[in-house]
Amino acid sequence: MSSLCLQRLQEERKKWRKDHPFGFYAKPCKKPDGSMNLQRWEAGIPGKEGTIWQDGVYPITIEYPDEYPSKPPKVKFPAGFYHPNIYPSGTVCLSILNEDQDWRPAITLKQIALGIQDLLDSPNPNSPAQEPAWRAFLRSRAEYDKKVATQAKQYVK
């Protein structure tokens, strides 16, 4: 890991601990020897109140490449996560996480976490990443809502 990457990740950790939105969590994973792996984080995104996502806290992993912050982190939900903009592998399709789109080195973990929370209830149908959720979202909202509610129970707060 480059010193820039390490420095920035330490800074991100400090910032997050000091100021993060309620209900979210994020922490670096542990290596097998018990030491901290700053390049891989586990985090939880609570669904927004008043939405069909509200009952769950959805787990994600955030992997920071060696080139971070020049390159964005890769954010993944569990494989098979039901959402129109989440790939079957769980990878999140979000412009601020795309190097060729809106990623900027100044984007913080807090902004990413809030961006993903927003994405949950405001999918972008123009950028589909998985077929079942995308199809249901466009064609059968009742089915979509039901599946999201069941998924929320799986990740209940």
């Binding site: 400090k14 000091k18 993060h20 030491s35 077929e131 199809r135 089915e143 129970k153 209940v156 707060k157």
Partner: protein
């Protein structure tokens, strides 16, 4: 437009009820501001004494517009500079003479100062400027200039503040004349308002410079000039203000804050950005300590601490070491190096006492943030001094012990966290940092006593935090606050402590942390007379933390922990008590509901986490499961809507724990199969008040237990399953007998019944990782049994599905189609040797689908069919022939192609993907089929120019697989290559046509296809491209470049760029 009309418009603009549209007024005024008359207008508005402050302000604003409009003319800049200065000095003079009646001038003064700060940058950054000789080419210190002009005020006022030959000469003379320190001091002491204006001006300049930095990149020359001139006068101003007791504190502190921000920014981008602030910080610290309740109600202290908090949060190193050490003594009464000054620390104690006594929680929180941020600056140093040999010889061990004692006291602030104090909350960060520093330190550098010392310190930290995070405190915090903030903050505090425990575990280990918590939970229980010697809140706190620690462990493989758990005879009992107290506690208020939820969450989560332990020591497992079922039963009773909402959450938590235990402890729990079956039958009843989620989870849990019934052979398993399926069957039949149209509730219920079958099927899939020995020995027996299926269980399920889907209401309901396909496909893909009660033959599944297809809506059902068909082909590919594929393709796709699929991009994509999956699995089935050349190839060529991204991705993948497929056998390869050579021209044309007309974001979808075609057919592809491209776009140069680049490009990214370049060029868009 004459001046009176302009003035009327301006007054209208600022009027609360404008006579005409504000937008129109703004447009009109803006056009005048930008015009060549703008400067004259500004002068007139600022000169006429009769005009209102609004009009004058608009004049100052007009000068700003002129500044940004005439960016290329140095002469105009100079003209504006003089006018701005003259007006500023005039208004400052008026303000100083009669401040009470001229207060409204301040806003105009600030605007003019801001204009001058822009001019300050423009003059100095305008390199190699050529002027007519009448303008200055650099400007050192705007504050000095204004000070000097105010000192020569009469000479300007006698010229009526006009830009005349005399004033011009005077400005030339004064612009860069120095102001010695004494003269500056004399000037500000002349009037407190001069002092105020000087501070205000320097603040505005550096604020603007900080803002400009992000816009302009580096401004090296400016940093140098500020460093050499403005910094010196400003520090003189600030320090004299701090040292002497002036009244304009807000302006002073705003000015200090702006300078700190500026230096913090500048020192990272320029060597001239480094400026010493020691004297200023010394003066601030002194002044802070002079601020008391008696003198100013700690007003100054609060302001200074606000600035210090900002420094420590953003750029702590900006403060020198001596000042930080002094602050350390003030904050803590002791420093790491050994300095101590109880008098200065007394001030801190008085201040804290004042905040506590007056219940000034927000201020106390700010102080906590400031102090802890300050402490965080030195964690590494502290870690070294405490635990390693890497410390200075001056280091005094006793002193550091004292230091730690103070920090522990600060952590143990004797009030309710979140509600009344924030020190303990913020100190979590400090201890976490210290623990990380300790853990990351090279072990060889530890002192001999380091491990012992670390243990002592961190054990105290644990002891301090245990009562702090008690739900009793959460309850108090919630009761005292009206909104959810306190609750959320407290939850965050608890999560932070859980993180801290994880870090401390690597230092304290199981011995001194996990085991202590286990003992804490399990050492006591209710006494014989029924009086409790157990504090249930304490049990909750320790269980909460224990859960965090145990989650990361595999208890099944941690015999030491299991031994400790075994030795605490009340442990499981107390966890159960915690859970039961939660279930039985009242829910008559928001606070009560929240605590109830917390108790149940902690209790049930820990029970689930202990599944590995129960595998080793199952004696209390059944008690736990009983308690969980009792809890579940209570959730079905709801008195109010709020109860229902709460119960839903409790129900989910409890059933998830049951499911976790059943999954992990399926063998240990198997003696209770009968009890589970009884519960199952109860909750499956249509009138049972449980959610579908619970029904489905419980069925899966029961499935785990049935899966573990291997001792008595497959017959026993089959009998259990038959009982379950018969129960479901009878409820399904009952539901179907209702003749009228099904209600939403009935539909949901029926769907849930089928989903339960699917859940049972999932539970019965044997995990290869956790094979049971008996099962492995008897696997052949199980396989043979399920092959014969003497109880006809698979037929029973199939018949049930047919029964439900024969009802027209459900045949067209996609939720039912989906679950039917899930059930039928459940065992497809399982290895041949794995037995399963849902293994269906190809014939059975095909018959089912063919029966059903005539009664459903194919357009909606096709994706679910395809899911099943794909699995079917993968499973039975060796038994299938191209004719079978043709049959399947004809019946499920071709028949509906024109009527439904072709017009629906989703279905089109589904169809293409299906063919792709066959090409992935056994391509011979499709390429030797009758529809390959007659239908698939010609149709999928057309799809290359589709507009929808999903279709494009699917069809380009198809063509890639046609050209390059590792699953081809030799015959497949020869055939497809021959075929592609014949149609390659058309494929390439359609690809490029589609690409040319697609959106920029879709271009990458074509990359792989073009790369593959070029790689596999390097001779033909350039020719095909050369023939195709001119028909798509008339840009031969771009085409030539594209073809030559593509043929030599390796790598997807490079190919993407080549394609993008061609696309931009042909669409007449700017190149990269």
């Amino acid at each position: 437009m004459d001046i009176d009309q302009v003035v009327r418009l301006i007054e209208g603009l600022y009027s609360p009820q404008p006579s005409q549209d504000v937008g129109t007024i703004q447009q009109e005024l803006q056009s005048i501001q930008k015009s060549d008359d703008g400067f004259l207008l500004a002068n007139e508005l600022l000169s006429n004494i009769a005009y209102s402050p609004n009009v004058k302000y608009f004049g100052a604003l007009t000068l700003t517009v002129q500044l940004s409009t005439n960016v290329d003319s140095y002469e105009i800049l100079w003209k504006i500079f003089k006018a701005n200065l003259l007006h500023l000095v005039k208004f400052c003079s008026q303000y100083v003479k009669d401040s009470s009646n001229s207060a409204s001038l301040l806003i105009i003064i600030k605007k003019l100062m801001s204009n001058l700060s822009l001019i300050f940058t423009n003059i100095n950054e305008w390199s190699n400027v050529e002027t007519s000789g009448s303008a200055i080419t650099h400007w050192n210190n705007p504050v000095n200039t204004v000070v000097l002009m105010l000192s020569h005020e009469e000479q300007f006022s006698s010229r009526n503040w006009q830009d005349t030959l005399e004033t011009d000469q005077l400005i030339h003379h004064l612009a860069n004349s120095p102001v010695p320190y004494d003269k500056l001091m004399l000037f500000i002491k002349t009037s407190e308002f001069y002092n105020k204006l000087a501070l205000m001006f320097t603040e505005i300049i550096v604020e603007d410079l900080t803002k400009f930095q992000s816009k302009k990149g580096t401004m090296n020359k400016m940093y140098e000039i500020v460093h050499e001139h403005l910094y010196i006068s400003t520090m003189a101003l600030i320090n004299v203000n701090l040292a002497e007791w002036h009244v304009s504190e807000d302006i002073l502190y705003n000015c200090i804050g702006a300078w700190i921000n500026y230096i913090s920014m500048a020192r990272n981008v320029s060597p001239y950005g480094r400026m010493d602030l020691s004297e200023m910080f010394d003066n601030m610290i002194n002044r802070m300590c002079q601020s008391t309740e008696a003198t100013d109600g700690f007003y100054q202290a609060e302001k200074i601490l606000g600035i210090l908090a900002n420094v420590f949060a953003n750029d702590p190193i900006i403060m020198g070491h001596p000042q930080r050490e002094e602050l350390e003594v003030i904050f803590l009464g002791v420093s790491r190096t050994g300095s101590a000054n109880s008098i200065k620390n007394n001030w801190m104690l008085q201040y804290m006492n004042y905040l506590v006594t007056n219940e000034m929680t927000d201020d106390l929180k700010e102080l906590a943030v400031c102090v802890v941020d300050f402490l965080l600056v030195n964690t590494l140093d502290m870690c070294n001094k405490l635990f390693t040999v890497v410390s200075s010889p001056k280091f005094n061990g006793d002193n550091l012990q004292q230091y730690i004692k103070v920090l522990l006291q600060l952590t143990n602030f004797p009030l309710i966290p979140v509600l009344q104090e924030f020190f303990s909350v913020r100190m979590v960060d400090f201890w976490l940092d210290l623990a990380d520093c300790y853990s990351n330190t090279v072990a060889e550098t530890y002192t001999e006593s380091a491990p012992q010392l670390a243990t002592e310190i961190f054990q105290q930290v644990v002891s301090i935090y245990l009562p702090k995070i008690s739900l009793l405190n959460k309850q108090k915090a919630m009761e005292a606050e009206n909104d959810d903030t306190a609750m959320h903050e407290f939850d965050d505090f608890r999560s932070a402590i859980a993180d801290l425990m994880e870090s401390l575990w690597s230092i304290l280990g199981n011995d001194k942390l996990t085991n202590i918590l286990i003992t804490g939970v399990g050492e006591n229980t209710l006494s014989t007379d029924g009086t409790s010697s157990v504090d249930i809140f304490e049990v909750e706190t320790m269980s909460f933390l224990l859960n965090t620690l145990l989650t990361d462990m595999n208890l099944r493989e941690s015999p030491w922990i299991c031994d400790i758990l075994d030795s605490c005879e009340f442990f499981v009992g107390n966890i159960l008590m915690l859970f039961q107290v939660g279930c039985e506690s009242s829910a008559d208020s928001i606070v009560a509901r929240t605590l109830k939820l917390d108790f149940v969450r902690t209790g049930s989560s820990l029970m689930g986490t202990m599944a590995g332990y129960f595998q080793q020591s199952p004696s209390q497992l059944s008690t736990c499961v009983d308690a969980l079922f009792q809890g579940l039963e209570k959730c079905t009773i709801a008195a109010s809507p709020a109860d229902t909402q709460l119960n839903d959450k409790l129900e989910v938590m409890i059933i998830k724990t049951i499911s976790t235990l059943c999954d992990a402890c399926r063998y240990e729990i198997s003696p209770y199969l009968m009890q589970f079956t009884t519960v199952f039958k109860t909750i499956m009843r249509p009138d049972s008040n449980v959610s579908t989620f619970t029904r489905e989870k419980l069925t899966r849990s029961l499935g785990y237990i049935i899966e573990a019934q291997v001792e008595n052979g497959p017959e026993r398993q089959a009998a259990c399953m038959l009982e379950i399926l018969s129960t479901i069957e009878s409820y399904v039949q009952q539901a179907l007998t209702i003749s009228e149209l099904p209600s939403e509730q009935q539909r949901g219920y029926l769907h849930c019944m089928l989903t339960c079958i699917s859940e049972l099927g999932t539970a019965m899939i044997h995990s290869s990782e956790e094979e049971n020995e008996t099962f492995v020995q008897r696997v052949a027996e199980f396989r043979n049994y399920w092959k014969l299926d003497p109880l006809q269980i698979s037929s029973k399920v199939l018949n049930l599905l047919q029964l439900v889907l024969s009802n027209p209401a459900y045949a067209k309901d996609m939720a039912f189609v989906e679950v039917a396909c899930l059930i039928l496909g459940k065992a497809l893909g399982l290895p041949y040797e794995n037995p399963h009660f849902l293994k269906y033959s190809m014939k059975e599944i095909m018959e089912f689908l063919l029966n059903h297809i005539s009664t459903t809506d194919v357009a909606l059902a096709l994706p679910y069919y395809v899911y099943l068909l794909e699995k079917l082909i993968k499973q039975y590919k060796d038994q299938l022939s191209p004719q079978d594929f043709d049959f399947l393709f004809e019946n499920f796709f071709l028949q509906y192609y024109q009527s439904a699929i072709l017009h629906d991009p989703d279905l089109l994509q589904t169809t293409i993907n299906f063919v792709n999956s066959v090409l992935d699995s056994k391509p011979g089935l499709v390429v030797h089929g009758a529809y390959w050349t007659s239908f698939l190839l010609p149709e999928f060529i057309k799809c290359l120019s589709a507009k929808e991204r999903f279709t494009i991705v699917a069809v380009t993948k198809f063509w890639c697989k046609v050209i390059n497929n590792k699953k081809y056998i030799r015959e497949d390869n020869e055939l497809t290559r021959h075929q592609f050579v014949l149609i390659g021209q058309e494929v390439v044309y359609q690809t490029m046509f589609g690409l040319f007309h697609s959106q920029r974001s879709d271009l990458s979808s074509y990359t792989d296809l073009l790369r593959t075609t070029m790689a596999k057919l390097p001779l033909q592809t350039p020719k095909w491209l050369a023939a195709a491209l001119p028909a798509i776009s008339k840009n031969n140069a771009a085409h030539e470049k594209f073809i030559s680049k593509l043929s030599v490009t390796r790598g997807s990214r490079a190919a993407n760029n080549v394609i993008l370049e061609w696309w931009l060029s042909c669409n007449a868009l700017p190149s990269l």
